[in-house]
């Protein structure tokens, strides 16, 4: 791995120029209306906001891959578990849900964790398989005995409108941190098991935990209503409708020459953008400081030569676990932010191709090991990913224009959305091979 990371210095102007190009793309999207761009500031800012969230996710992945060479294929799961936080923290409490089964539920979860801890103690103390099995079976029975009635009671409580445990009614911004903590806890559990073995095992184990977390969100109705979704998650910014009824804002919009509806949309998105920028810059600042500290040098030393670092007395597995948990926490924060932005928790939307592997394309294209590179790659790839949805059919429409109408033409036109996957795969393969250090290489 070391061979393709130490290479000739690149021009210091490279990153600023690339960011400038990116800014021009967004300006064009906001102002020019033609076959390529929408000419709407609302669209441009919506893409940018999601791009910023992708950038934070990419920063988390970059910590794991760029600093430590860990391949996390469960990004979608860490995003999803982070997204659970706004639901549990900021939604108003559901009447009667806690009384129906709250304490029993907590007890069940404690029993589950206690069983695992107990099994571990028995294993370490006695080394007898049957004793461990006995503990696990007993624990499982106790867990189900506590858990099942609690869930039935909670789900029966106002089933049509709620049926979930409800939130704490706290400010939604607080849930972003909680989301990071959730993801960190999940990452610790996986990392503890899968790290220290060969490198592919972490990739396979995270693939599993990713699918399981999404399955839990989809099926545990008591938690976040499962596939019935949760809408109306509180916002940290004003609602469009409030702005439109505010006479001051109407004046303000008129002065800038926008219609009120358009201006309110832009205003809300700008507010989100500022919030996201603050989080993004804070994380970059912390990450850069960490990377330049002795800790960062140690991480890079481990990444570039594990054996040598181990010989120097560094605990490679423990450091890997540390950076894996940190990176996952950042991904969890991004997941909470995403749910806050959407205002909707819809577990069916968590698709691994979109939320795991697309993020990977962003990190690799941007430049693994470089935080600014990840941000650039994330926003750029997200922009392209969204715009290809428009460009692809247009392009294919032009290409197949001369063909006679028929099945083949219809099939080609219909297949345009699938081109995105092929295009992203090719981008990943080409960058990995011909520019493995990405657009903005590591210094």
């Amino acid at each position: 791995m070391s061979a393709n990371r130490q290479a000739a210095a690149v021009s210091p102007w490279r990153a600023p120029i690339l960011f400038a190009i990116l800014a021009v793309l967004f300006l064009l999207e906001g102002t020019v209306r033609n076959g390529l761009f929408s000419g709407s500031w609302n669209t441009a800012l919506a893409i940018l906001n999601m791009g910023l969230i992708s950038a934070i996710t990419a920063l988390g992945v970059n910590m794991q891959w760029g600093y430590a060479g860990l391949f996390n294929t469960g990004v979608v799961g860490f995003l999803a578990i982070g997204g659970l936080a706004p639901v549990l923290v900021s939604l108003p409490p559901v009447d009667g849900a806690w009384a129906a089964g709250g304490p029993r539920l907590i007890l069940a979860l404690l029993a589950g964790i206690g069983t695992l801890a107990m099994a571990r103690i028995v294993h370490v103390r006695t080394r007898r398989g049957w004793a461990v099995a006995l503990v696990l079976i007993g624990g499982f029975v106790a867990y189900r005995w506590l858990f099942d009635p609690a869930v039935t009671a909670i789900e029966a409580n106002n089933a049509a409108r709620a049926g979930n445990i409800g939130g704490l009614g706290l400010p939604v911004l607080m849930s972003w941190i909680v989301g990071g903590l959730f993801a960190a806890a999940a990452a610790w559990a996986v990392g503890k098991v899968a790290l220290g073995l060969r490198s592919d095992y972490l990739a396979i184990a995270t693939l599993g935990i990713g699918e399981i977390i999404v399955a839990v969100l989809r099926n545990e109705d008591w938690l976040a209503r499962g596939v019935k979704n949760i809408a109306s998650i509180p916002r940290p910014v004003p609602y469009e409708i409030e702005l439109q009824q505010n006479p001051e804002f109407v004046d303000f919009a008129a002065r800038w020459g926008f219609s009120v509806a358009e201006a309110s949309g832009i205003w809300v998105k700008l507010c989100y953008m500022l919030l996201f920028l603050v989080v993004l810059l804070a994380i970059i600042l912390l990450a850069e400081l960490a990377l330049k500290s002795p800790w960062g040098r140690m991480m890079r030393a481990i990444r570039d030569n594990e054996t040598a670092a181990e010989a120097m007395g560094k605990d490679v597995t423990a450091r890997h676990l540390q950076v894996f948990v940190l990176g996952s926490a950042v991904i969890g924060i991004a997941g909470a932010m995403m749910i806050t932005l959407d205002g909707l928790m819809a577990p069916t939307s968590y698709n691994p191709l979109r939320y795991t592997f697309l993020i990977w394309v962003m990190v690799i294209v941007g430049g693994s090991g470089n935080n600014w590179g990840s941000v650039l790659g994330a926003v750029l790839i997200w922009f392209v990913w969204i715009k290809v949805e428009v460009w692809g059919p247009n392009l294919i429409g032009v290409l197949v224009g001369p063909l006679p109408d028929g099945d083949l033409k219809a099939h080609l036109l219909g297949s345009a959305p699938h081109m995105r996957f092929i295009a992203m795969g090719l981008v990943l393969l080409l960058v990995l091979r011909f520019a493995p250090r990405g657009l903005v290489p590591e210094k």
Binding site: M1, V193, L197, D200, N219, I422, L429
Partner: protein
């Protein structure tokens, strides 16, 4: 206590489905383990390559069906299978040439190969969607059942019925034939021995004049055959949906790791182990218990986990193996 009915219910709902599923997983895990043994990386594109091979086979099957060709009681897909295998083999040889060979020459770290295989996965996924779309497709024809529920009830006089679908029997038979052929090839032929030698010790194999590129090509061709057969059998048994083939990646990896990555016998054992645990854990045992202990009225379904969590079973097995025996039950390649 009604042991016969309980046994029939067990066979019908647990044993037969798990055996068929296990055979499909075993074939998939064999492919993963072979690629791991020779090329030394976990191939994330495996599931989507299976989907691609199946998609080609389905298209050819439809072509044959429209020409009026059929195999009588057997599904027409068996006739189309060689075409699917050939197309998949060409495709994987192409990806090896275009993608993996470069990293092999560079002696890149295994994780770089894994990453490249993710890129290949994207492309394969897109190709499959392009070919056949994302919707569910059914392509089984021929006889539906070898033993139908009603015939069995009339024949045996039991209350519980037993069904054996022809696709299930076919899966097990085909898997047995494929495994026998594979082991004959690996143990008896010169090329097979060359592959094993290369897997054991690359440098020694090079010294004894084995052409590494030939070994790699052979591996990909065999893997393509295994992937397509596994994919088609899975599709015949359950119906074809491209996304399912991405999701089956986890049980396949679990099976390969349980058996020991790089160990073909282990892959087969792992496939059945994962499949039987998955079905046993997600099956509601209340019916079987009802026959065994007529007086007992259990409160629930006696289902350990909902079927939605079947992937959790593979995951737990994976975790347990990683914790206690990272080289797998049949000791595969080193950790």
């Amino acid at each position: 206590m009604d042991i016969l009915n309980a046994l029939v219910a067990f066979l019908n709902f647990v044993f037969i489905p798990a055996a068929a599923y296990g055979a499909q997983l075993a074939l998939g895990a064999l492919g993963v383990t072979l690629i791991y043994a020779i090329l030394r990386f976990s191939n994330f594109a495996h599931g989507d390559t299976m989907a691609f091979g199946t998609a080609i086979t389905i298209l050819v099957t439809w072509g044959l069906q429209s020409l009026g060709v059929s195999l009588g009681p057997l599904p027409t897909a068996l006739l189309a299978l060689p075409v699917g295998i050939a197309a998949t083999a060409v495709l994987v040889l192409g990806t090896d040439r275009a993608v993996y060979r470069f990293y092999r020459a560079q002696r890149a770290a295994p994780i770089i190969f894994v990453m490249a295989s993710v890129g290949v996965m994207f492309v394969m996924n897109g190709l499959t969607r392009l070919l056949i779309g994302v919707d569910e497709q059914r392509f089984d024809d021929g006889a539906r059942f070898i033993i139908a529920v009603r015939d069995f009830r009339e024949w045996s006089g039991l209350a519980e019925g037993l069904a054996l679908r022809s696709t299930q029997a076919l899966t097990v038979v085909v898997t047995a034939i494929v495994c026998a052929a594979l082991f004959w090839f690996l143990n008896r032929t010169k090329s097979g021995k060359a592959m094993r030698a290369y897997s054991d010790n690359e440098d020694l194999a090079l010294l004894s004049g084995i052409d590494p590129e030939r070994v790699v090509r052979l591996t990909w061709i065999i893997a393509a055959a295994l992937m397509t057969i596994a994919g088609v059998l899975y599709g015949l048994d359950k119906s074809f949906r491209p996304f399912n083939y991405f999701q089956i990646l986890l049980p396949i990896f679990a099976a390969a790791i349980v058996g020991g990555l790089g160990n073909p016998v282990g892959a087969i054992a792992g496939g059945f182990l994962v499949a039987f645990s998955e079905v046993a854990v997600t099956y509601p045992w209340v019916k079987v218990a009802g026959y065994l202990f007529p007086g007992w009225q259990p409160g629930g379904l006696l289902q350990l986990l909902g079927t939605e969590y079947k992937f959790a079973v593979s995951f737990v097995i994976l975790i347990v193996v990683l914790l206690f025996r990272p080289t797998g039950l049949f000791s595969g390649k080193s950790v």
